[in-house]
């Protein structure tokens, strides 16, 4: 546990880009309610829970086309 606390400040810079991506993707999910598949709730959970992989999956596969 001590080592984990020791590592935490070093982990923060790694989590920042992850968090930025999650927030950008979550905002996109909320503002564009058209998806290739899945629902708003589904994508919100995916984007926020799966760091890095979630937002990438959303932008590559889940985002609906521009209308």
């Amino acid at each position: 546990m001590d080592t984990l606390l020791e590592m935490l400040p070093l982990l923060i810079p790694i989590l920042v880009p992850d968090a930025v991506l999650a927030v950008v993707a979550a905002l996109h999910v909320l503002r564009h309610p058209h998806y290739r598949f899945g629902s708003k709730a589904f994508w919100l959970v995916v984007v926020v829970v799966f760091l890095l992989i979630g937002p990438i999956t959303y932008f590559v596969a889940g985002k609906g086309g521009e209308q």
């Binding site: 070093l10 982990l11 790694i14 992850d18 990438i56 590559v60």
Partner: protein
């Protein structure tokens, strides 16, 4: 040239708006950060997860770079190819190029603009990731200096241009995203397989990604990279040239 500049601007805007740049930038940045971090703390993480597992030796700076090159050359470039695999297929399926070309935009301008934008984004993402890894490594292992760190990164960067050139060729030949990506993957696999053939191995561009760590550790010398670099640049130019020729004949 005017058409090229206009199309270049359109491509740049497109890549900003469809989040391609954001995703790639984040991926490379995260790799730049996690590679040194994981290399440094792997023993602690292992002993926290499984108490009976022990690493034999303490992690060194070279481990960090090994991680970095493995991640970037594998997942990093794959992400690039997958995201840019749709750069032409979207235009084909929506028919957005037809109007521009009938209005006088040279076909070669389309290819060159697409390639320029992909190459510029790759360069920005790659070197940001590298600089992050460089600073983080320097922070985690203070006072250790390695030679050829930048040179090794430079060679992998050159290989990125080769991948993008093959990808663009695939995008011109095939109409669908998936087949273009498959084409790129196939060609890259062939190149890496040719690395096994002994007399050819010295010239194989694949050496640019397999020997970076050796270059940093001193097991390989810069002169070994000369021929693969020349071959890699040559294939990049030939690939682009083929792409423009084939695109000239392509029905949109």
């Amino acid at each position: 040239m005017n058409g090229y500049a206009a199309f270049l601007k359109k491509e740049l805007t497109e890549n900003m708006k469809n989040y391609r740049f954001l995703i790639l930038f984040a991926v490379f940045l995260i790799f730049g950060l996690t590679s040194p971090f994981l290399a440094r703390f792997m023993p602690e993480i292992l002993s926290a997860v499984a108490a009976d597992m022990q690493m034999e030796s303490a992690p060194v700076v070279l481990d960090a770079w090994e991680q970095f090159y493995k991640n970037i050359s594998g997942v990093g470039f794959s992400a690039f190819i997958i995201l840019f695999g749709s750069c032409m297929s979207g235009e084909y399926s929506k028919g957005t190029l037809v109007l521009l070309i009938t209005k006088g935009l040279p076909r070669s301008a389309v290819i060159f603009a697409k390639y320029t934008v992909a190459a510029v984004l790759m360069t920005v993402c790659y070197w940001s990731g590298f600089l992050t890894a460089y600073c983080y490594t320097a922070y985690l292992w203070p006072g250790t200096m390695l030679s050829h760190v930048f040179t090794a990164a430079f060679y992998l960067w050159l290989l990125g241009f080769l991948y993008l050139s093959i990808l663009l060729l695939g995008c011109v030949v095939f109409k669908q995203t998936f087949t273009s990506i498959l084409f790129t993957g196939g060609i890259v696999a062939v190149i890496s397989l040719l690395g096994i053939v002994e007399p050819l191995a010295k010239f194989n561009p694949f050496l640019l990604t397999s020997k970076n760590v050796d270059l940093i550790s001193g097991a390989a010398s810069v002169s070994e990279f000369l021929m693969p670099t020349v071959v890699s640049i040559a294939i990049t130019i030939i690939g682009l040239w083929f792409a423009t020729i084939l695109f000239d004949r392509k029905q949109l």
